[in-house]
């Protein structure tokens, strides 16, 4: 919130860095400000346009579990609150493109409803990407990470067995601002339906599968760090929704490393969350169309199978998808995992002087750690920028 209001922060949302020239103390950065087709200075964020827009597309903010319109706000409380037209989904922009390419005019369908409804006259279909330059003395990369989409782990049936979701999808299912308004429904009961069906059954049995794609010799060997805690948190919140609900966490071990973390795990145990020491072998579709988890309980030394309403995969924290491109643009190196490379004694310096990194871009980190890293990186930026300024002043 404060970022949007701060007099010393210029927010360039919906923008990407194209290239970086220069050196520490004097970088010239080329930035592409993508066309929103909505005038930021005029849009009041009232939402009348999205209400009338006839085009529905899967909503990436809700991980595709809900829908949004072709003109949208990324999420309700988003900053800036300006609406944006998705150029791939909007009928009018598609029509204009076809017109430009010389298509048969009688076949071109145009819409233009949002421009008609907008009282602020903020819709501008002719808006173009803008190239802007900024002169800066240092750069911080806080580009985050990628959540593994576990289709490739075929034995877990993601995308094939109904009601198998990733943890971030489950967060959207739990959320009051999500597609179910906070009711814990099974996604297969409503995703893809035109209207949310009435009187859906609530999910009563949840399974959380740990280390999906992490600590796995066939995929990423690294521990993603935060998944143990987010599975415990999701189990606790689900039980807060419904204390009768059954929540099982399947994992090799629980890594509750941090102040208060072990106490949180104990709290989960006390309210009845079950921890099973195991590595789940397979998830199959059962006769009721629900997922069945096959696992060996290594304490009992027996193989079991059990039916659940929703299976939540704690999928791995991977380097950002465009990390190699980013490395090229910024002239920095990546480490053997594909995250941005740092040195043990300079944990926030990249391999290029004056460019710093913090958060998950340099490796898995939970929220408190990302915040601590960000403050450390800020201190490091101050140190280097002021040193450089002093050097220049001495000359």
């Amino acid at each position: 919130m404060d970022v949007g209001r701060h007099p010393k922060i210029e927010l360039l949302a919906y923008s990407e860095v194209e290239r970086v020239d220069g050196t520490v103390g004097a970088f010239d950065v080329t930035i592409r400000k993508k066309a929103r087709y909505v005038d930021e200075s005029k849009c009041t964020g009232c939402g009348a346009c999205a209400e009338k827009c006839p085009t529905r597309v899967p909503d990436p903010y809700n991980e595709g579990l809900g829908e949004r319109k072709a003109i949208y706000r990324y999420f309700a409380q988003g900053i800036p609150s300006t609406y944006t037209i998705d150029p791939d989904a909007c009928r009018h922009l598609a029509g204009l493109r076809a017109e430009k390419e010389g298509a048969d005019k009688s076949k071109i369908k145009k819409c233009g409803v949002c421009a008609k409804i907008c009282q602020a006259k903020a819709i501008d279909y002719s808006q173009q990407d803008q190239i802007i330059h900024r002169q800066v003395e240092a750069i911080v990369l806080a580009v985050g990470y990628e959540v593994l989409k576990p289709e490739g782990i075929t034995e877990y049936g993601y995308g094939r067995v109904p009601n198998v979701v990733t943890a971030i999808e489950f967060e959207r299912l739990l959320s009051a601002s999500g597609p179910t308004a906070g009711h814990l429904y099974r996604p297969a009961d409503f995703v893809g339906k035109k209207k949310m069906p009435e009187h859906l059954p609530h999910a009563k049995r949840l399974a959380f599968i740990q280390c999906v794609g992490s600590r796995d010799g066939r995929r990423s060997i690294h521990c993603s760090g935060f998944c143990c805690m987010h599975s415990i948190k999701e189990a606790i919140i689900a039980k807060e929704h419904d204390s009768e609900l059954d929540a099982w966490i399947f994992g090799m071990d629980i890594r509750a490393v941090g102040k208060g973390f072990e106490e949180y795990r104990l709290k989960a145990e006390q309210i009845g969350v079950k921890f099973v020491r195991s590595r789940v072998a397979e998830i199959t579709k059962g006769p009721n169309g629900l997922p069945i988890v096959w696992y060996e309980d290594t304490r009992a030394r027996r193989v079991y199978s059990r039916e659940f309403d929703i299976v939540v995969l704690a999928s791995a924290c991977l380097p950002p998808k465009d990390a190699p491109l980013l490395a090229e643009k910024f002239g920095i190196e990546l480490d053997s995992f594909g995250f941005i490379k740092t040195r043990p004694f300079a944990p926030f310096d990249t391999t290029r002087e004056g460019i710093f990194v913090c958060g998950c871009a340099r490796g898995p980190a939970d929220i408190p750690e990302s915040v601590a890293q960000a403050s450390s990186a800020a201190a490091r930026v101050a140190q280097v920028v002021l040193q450089e300024a002093r050097k220049v002043a001495m000359q």
Binding site: D2, V3, G4, H6, K8, I9, L11, L12, A13, Y14, S15, E16, V17, F27, V29, I31, R36, Y61, Y72, R73, Y74, F75, Q77, G78, I79, P80, T84, R134, V136, E137, A138, I139, V140, L141, A142, G144, E171, R172, S175, G178, M229, H230, K233, Y264, C358, G359, A361, A365, I367, S370, V371, A374, S375, A378, A379, V381, A382, V385, L386, A389
Partner: protein, 59 residues
Amino acid sequence: MIRDKEHHVLVIGGGIAGIQVSLDLAEMGFFVHMVEKLPSIGGKMAQLDKTFPTNDCAI
């Protein structure tokens, strides 16, 4: 701390790390340009329902 001239820095990414580093630098007196590729800032944390350990709302 910074009296003589305004120092400009660029932060790429508007998630929790990018927001924190920008606020810290701005509070120190730097001028921060923040670039976010999505239409609004917040990052992955804005997708979370509630956050550990206090179970407070993420936004």
